[in-house]
């Protein structure tokens, strides 16, 4: 087992676009679930809208990359409104059911051959990197040190991703430490008490749904920036992976989702390298190489269950402040 | 008529501390004994913990310290379904019948742990509440408050309880139906059922009970036989005063 190689890959994954994308998605979910108490089980759908909005914006509407990104964000905001307006007046479980269904509907719409011209159906979309790469200010070449060696495109993607992440984190932090955030905190605990004080509870919940959705869409865009948009990615499992990252770090904090995503992806990378290598080295004789890859995901599922049962507040969270734990 | 002091202890509540929210105790060290065949009344101001005391017997509130025994067996941490099997019957104040079921089905629900005894228990219940037998097919949701309460009591009686807990049986009833409710509880008790009744109408409650407990701030403020408490000037002044006094 080549440990140097494994370590290199793992370290590199710390700032990979996938990690940054997960951090943004988890941050968006933190706004929904951690701060507003909304049980959104379709965060994958918001990410999909961001990614597809971006790709379709470039390929079908010939928009420059930054306008296409805005299109992706706007699509997510509209989606949040469509989901929220009918369901937020009902019990929380209804939102959960509706969001799972909605995300699946979206994925199937992207998958169906009816819209093949626009969405690429099962093949997805690719080849939209033209204007993005053209706008890259970094001159051609390879930069970095140690495990962090990327070319100018790789750095451009990472820099933008990090900027997006910082913007989102600052926004969420500002929001939650303001009087607006205080009202949301009250709503999380007892909606009626906050209503009795004259606050429009529905409007706050809807706004939170939109804000979180837009941030998650940004995650989808960052994920799609350097590669391709594939409908097979935005499945319900993705939602559960984001939840794992979020709960691991701490649901109702700003840094929780970031740290959780980091650990999640580094671990994924480590396991993704270690397990197959272990199989090759004969340490796991009952498994094949491909099965070892799948084992990763099984382990994620188990980890999610363990976190929820034994440490729902995650690493950074405060158990006393949790409302979804009795 | 009333059981002697040597009759065996059915329910023994010893120094119970309990509450719903963490850190907030409604009961602050409350004790109560009920002997076989007795009618026990619990009165006191709102917020004193009367309903909470009943709920702590029935496993519906966190008992933080103290013990509750039934016929000598510790039932403090048991849940409601286990308690019903052991013979604790509960008549809640609200939501006490299945509105979408008929009276007959409600009574059958009371007996679902021992369905074979249905005919025998039905006879017992209709001997106390004659009119029930004539209206078995009526939907419980169409009944008035007083009628529902009668059905709720009957349902609890179907499983031949060792002790019947009643939470404010007269609540929400017109004046004359309140009197009727108290008479019903008295009839149930006369038929041999040990009863523990929480009530807001303190005077009526004390008139029909064998022994009473006055709760205040989650503690036993006064206790004695029903007659003793009715004649106690302190109790009268603080808890039984008619409105104008």
């Amino acid at each position: 087992m080549d440990w140097i190689q494994i370590l290199n890959n793992s370290a590199s994954s710390i700032i990979s676009p996938a990690t940054l994308a997960y951090a943004l998605a988890a941050l968006g979910l933190a706004v929904h679930f951690g701060y507003a108490g909304l049980l959104n089980m379709g965060i994958a759908g918001f990410m999909a809208l961001g990614a597809y909005g971006y790709a379709i914006g470039i390929l079908t509407f010939n928009l420059p990359w930054w306008a296409a990104a805005l299109l992706g964000l706007a699509a997510s905001a509209v989606f949040a409104l469509i989901l929220g307006i009918p369901t937020l007046r009902l019990r929380g479980d209804y939102l959960a059911i509706v969001t799972i269904a909605a995300a699946e509907v979206l994925r199937l719409l992207f998958l169906t051959t009816t819209f093949d011209e626009v969405t690429g159906s099962a093949d997805g979309l690719s080849g939209y990197h033209g204007s993005f790469r053209a706008s890259n200010p970094i001159p051609e070449g390879t930069y970095g040190f140690g495990p962090f060696m990327y070319n100018e495109i790789g750095w451009w993607v990472r820099i933008l991703g990090i900027i997006a992440l910082i913007l989102a984190a600052v926004t969420v932090w500002r929001l939650m430490s303001s009087p607006w955030g205080r009202v949301l905190k009250g709503i999380r605990e007892d909606e009626d008490a906050v209503r009795a004080l004259g606050k429009n509870v529905f409007s706050y919940k809807l706004t939170a749904l939109v804000v979180g959705g837009v941030i998650a869409a940004a995650g989808g865009i960052v994920y799609a920036l350097p590669s391709a948009v594939n409908p097979g990615v935005y499945v319900t499992s993705l939602t559960f992976f984001v939840y794992t990252a979020l709960l691991l770090g701490g649901a109702a904090t700003v840094f929780g989702p970031l740290i959780g995503s980091l650990i999640f992806w580094v671990l994924q990378t480590v396991l993704g390298n270690v397990l197959p290598a272990a199989v090759d080295a004969g340490l796991l004789p009952f498994m094949s190489n491909i099965q070892a890859q799948t084992l990763r995901f099984i382990l994620v599922g188990i980890a999610l269950m363990l976190i929820v049962i034994f440490r729902p507040q995650g690493i950074l969270g405060n158990k006393k402040e949790l409302t979804f734990v009795k | 008529m009333s059981p002697t002091a040597t009759a065996e202890l059915v329910v023994d509540i010893n120094n119970v501390v309990a509450g719903y929210l963490p850190g907030v105790n409604i009961l602050n060290g409350c004790s109560l004994q009920a002997r076989r065949g007795e009618l026990i009344g619990i009165i006191g101001p709102n917020g004193a913990g009367k309903s909470t005391l009943l709920k702590s017997i029935f496993g519906q509130v966190n008992v933080r310290s103290g013990t509750i025994t039934l016929d000598g067996e510790d039932i403090t941490s048991l849940r409601a379904n286990q308690l019903v099997a052991l013979g604790v019957g509960m008549v809640p104040q609200t939501n006490n019948v299945f509105a979408s079921l008929t009276i007959e089905e409600n009574l059958q629900m009371g007996l679902f742990q021992r369905p074979s005894a249905y005919a025998e228990r039905l006879e017992f219940v209709t001997s106390i509440f004659g009119e029930l037998g004539k209206r078995l097919k009526q939907r419980a949701g169409s009944l008035s408050g007083g009628e529902r309460q009668m059905v709720a009591m009957s349902r609890a009686l179907m499983m031949d309880p060792k002790v019947l807990l009643l939470d404010e049986p007269s609540a929400g009833l017109s004046p004359v139906r309140q009197d009727e409710a108290f008479i019903r509880v008295s009839e149930i008790n006369k038929a041999g059922v040990t009863c523990i009744m929480v009530e807001q109408n303190a005077r009526r409650c004390l008139q029909i009970c064998d022994r009473g407990y006055v709760l205040d701030q989650g503690r036993d403020a006064y206790t004695g036989t029903g007659r003793e408490l009715l004649n106690d000037p302190k109790v009268t002044e603080l808890y039984l005063g008619t409105l104008g006094v």
Binding site: A196 | S2, G141, G172
Partner: protein, 323 residues
């Protein structure tokens, strides 16, 4: 208990509130709320059935009645927390039937809850600040830039601390509300309600579960509200408290208003006494049912009558009622 309470300085009761004879539904000289034909049923049960009711402005009105009479349901209807089956009501002349709770609260009405809703996961001070109205920082875009709301936040904090001092909760301002005792939480809920500078304060059983040491101060605070020009409507079971601070009393039973008037007169009204104590106070049900002998009868009852009356007489009277 509460009978030991006498306010240190007797404050005068407000009189002249009604127009004409004091009967259920009587008009008031200056009503702040007028209720018409409100009905609310749950399944087959009528919880509230009020033909006409007016709440007087600037006075302390008590809403009393036995458990299950519909008082809290009426509260919930008036404050927008429940929808009636029929009926309408106005607040300050403006129709508010069907208005959602948060809009009603913005009009100048504020309420507390029977099971107190002090937000335990927020600090005492945060609870207080939440109560203030028209907060710039509560608007989404402005909230992102503290520059817009910082100054108002400080003003709100000053006001909050001032009220907390009056309620003797200022020392606890940084503690989580969950760490307060039950009575302190009630005080906090009342203090928080004052942050919105309301016209009408509706208190649902403010005394329930509060230990006697705090009852006195709670009473004083309610009287202060009237002195500061607010109208108070409260639900209570403690008759001594009602007698001490209420200017006007409304009695509900089985969903209807059965009596209205000043506390002394109302509490002597036979219909009211019946609603609380049962139809025949002269009877001792223990004697009627044969559990006790006539010579042991409850001294406040007629032993002979109790001995003579049969259980079947009462049962017949009850079944007569439903015809």
């Amino acid at each position: 208990m509460s009978s030991d309470i006498t306010p240190p300085v007797e404050r005068p009761k407000t009189t002249g509130l009604h127009v004409g004879e004091a009967a259920p539904g009587v008009a008031k000289t200056d009503p702040i709320i007028v209720v018409d034909g409100v009905r609310r049923t749950f399944g087959g049960l009528t919880a509230v059935n009020v033909d006409h009711l007016e709440i007087p402005r600037g006075a302390i009105t008590a809403l009393i009645g036995p458990n299950g009479a519909g008082k809290t349901t009426l509260f919930n209807l008036l404050t927008g927390f429940d929808r009636p089956d029929a009926g309408s009501w106005t607040f300050d002349g403006k129709s508010i039937s069907g208005m959602p709770a948060f809009k009603v609260a913005r009009l100048g009405q504020v309420r507390t809850f029977q099971l107190t809703k002090a937000l335990g996961l927020l600090t005492v001070l945060e609870n207080m600040k939440l109560g203030a109205k028209h907060q710039i920082g509560e608007r989404f875009w402005q909230s992102l830039f503290p520059f817009f709301w910082r100054r108002q936040e400080l003003e709100i904090e000053d006001r909050a601390v001032g009220i907390l001092k009056k309620f003797k909760l200022d020392a606890k301002s940084e503690d989580f509300a969950a760490s307060l005792s039950g009575g302190q939480r009630k005080l906090l809920e009342m203090a928080r309600a004052l942050m919105s500078e309301p016209q009408l304060v509706m208190l649902d059983e403010p005394m329930a579960g509060v230990n006697p040491a705090l009852t006195q101060s709670l009473l004083e605070h309610i009287l202060d509200l009237k002195d500061e020009g607010m109208t108070v409507l409260f639900v209570e079971h403690d008759m001594h408290m009602v007698r001490h601070i209420a200017d006007w009393v409304i009695v509900m039973a089985e969903g209807r208003v059965v009596a209205e008037g000043d506390p002394i007169t109302v509490m002597r009204n036979p219909a009211v006494i019946d609603a609380y104590l049962g139809a025949h106070q002269e009877l001792d049900l223990g004697v009627v049912t044969g559990r006790y002998e006539a010579e042991d009868a409850d001294p406040t009852t007629d032993a002979l009558a109790s001995d003579t009356v049969e259980v079947s007489d009462i049962e017949e009277e009850a079944s007569e009622e439903s015809k």
